[in-house]
């Protein structure tokens, strides 16, 4: 049995700790934070679904060839409270997406934020990267 003082500290810690946005799963399972990437392209498909929304863009590479990229965002109900809706993205919209590449390489990434080229509007993607820590620094 833990000493009572530690239990008390833990209990207080639990009461005081922030309720974070809990990610559906760990970022590092699929993505590599050491491989930042930014893409610019045109929306070809929107999968507005659980567990994660996925959006696909046709992106022109430096050689001028088109490649279709997919980027992951948060769950619909998380996005909805942060400026998104199911109808917001339209096929053909031009977006700039910053985030981290999938461990499997180019073509898939985790989106951290999305800028709409036409308006300059920038929205967070409720990425599972860099979630608020669940622990207070000190009890």
């Amino acid at each position: 049995m833990r000493p009572p003082s530690r239990l008390l500290a833990w209990s207080i810690g639990m009461l005081l700790s922030a309720a974070p946005i809990i990610a559906h799963h760990a970022f590092t399972a699929e993505f590599d934070a050491s491989k930042p990437v930014t893409i610019r392209g045109f929306v070809t498909k929107v999968e507005w679904t659980n567990p994660h929304v996925w959006v696909y863009l046709d992106v022109k590479d430096q050689a001028g060839a088109w490649k279709n990229w997919g980027f992951e965002m948060g769950a619909p109900h998380q996005l909805q409270t942060r400026g998104w809706s199911r109808e917001l993205l339209k096929i053909g919209d031009e977006l700039v997406v910053e985030g981290s590449m999938a461990k499997s390489g180019p073509g898939r990434m985790n989106g951290r934020n999305v800028t709409f080229a036409a308006t300059g509007k920038k929205l967070g993607a409720v990425s599972s990267e860099g979630q608020t820590t669940s622990a207070p620094a000190t009890p």
């Binding site: 507005w48 679904t49 659980n50 619909p76 109900h77 909805q80 409270t81 809706s85 199911r86």
Partner: protein, 370 residues
Amino acid sequence: MKHAVIRFLTAGLAVCLLSAPISGHHEIAAKFDPAKTVTLRGVVTGVEWLNPHVHIYMNVPGARGITNWAVELESVVDLRESGWRQDSVKPGDTVSVEGIVARDGSSQVWSRSMTLARTGKQVFNITARPATASASGPTPRWPDGQPRLGPPAGETGYWGHPSATMLVQAGANVQADAQGLLRNPADVDKVAPLQTWARGLYYLRQREFLRDDPMYQSCLPPGGPRMFQVPYGIQFMEERDRQRIWVFMGGANHNWRHIYLDGREQKGQVTGDADNPLFFGRSVGKWEGDTLVVDLKDFNERFWFSNGGLPHTDMLHLIERYSRPDHNTLRYEVTVDDPGAYTKTWTSAWTLTWVPNEELPVYYCQDNRP
């Protein structure tokens, strides 16, 4: 009341079950070709004891050396019920398998019969369990007289053994297997009042042996009436003081769904599912006499709402009617209203039987996925 009885009896006669594997996970013919039979004999190298299908791997000597075959069997739930266990066959055992091979040419076979060499006896065969013929009794009721859909106090059990496993309009007479694969694809016109495009899609799905069934391909849930026709049962837990009913599934992904009785509108919650059309739709209900009438809408199109692949659109609107005419019988009646896929509304009905003294089987479609 009598009219309703006649209606559901008619629907019950409409589907004649052919020799059907127990499996409700997918149409066997979607993956395996019934015309290509094979007999294999070899040594077991591995056993994957997982739902929806157990697989035995075996090394089979042939002209070009040894080929490792994957042998597909029924689910863990069904094999256990027939008395088999994970170690009924072990790596190192020699077995013979008679079955049908995979359509894609891979070294996979669906086992129709497996014999264990060291015993000379058949192994992993399913001995189908009939619905328990337990004594019924009057409809169980709450103190205020309302019928109880779930287990009465002190009892346990669940609803299983649907009398029909295919959705077909009342009055129709078609032959199909337990997964809804029509014996005669030309019967598509009899099944439901399909619009032309939907008839074409339904026919295509049937011709491809239900291969594209999202439940088979991706373990997506059997929303709508299909929930009451897939294996492994349903249970209702009524929270009367919360005006909410939980519908628990034993099969598919062992999910739950709500029926709200508090008079709310059918809309999602802002921080919940507000923007999403759903697999199970949004259910609101009320009791009309001894029948629970439930209205469902806001479905997405990413699943099949029936065994056999009848199409639907996001305009799908269902009215379900649940009643319990006696202790052991749940009558399920559904009105399908989808102006996007059908030329008129239509109804279907069947019954489920109480399985006493047992709990819902524990089955997860996701089990043997990577």
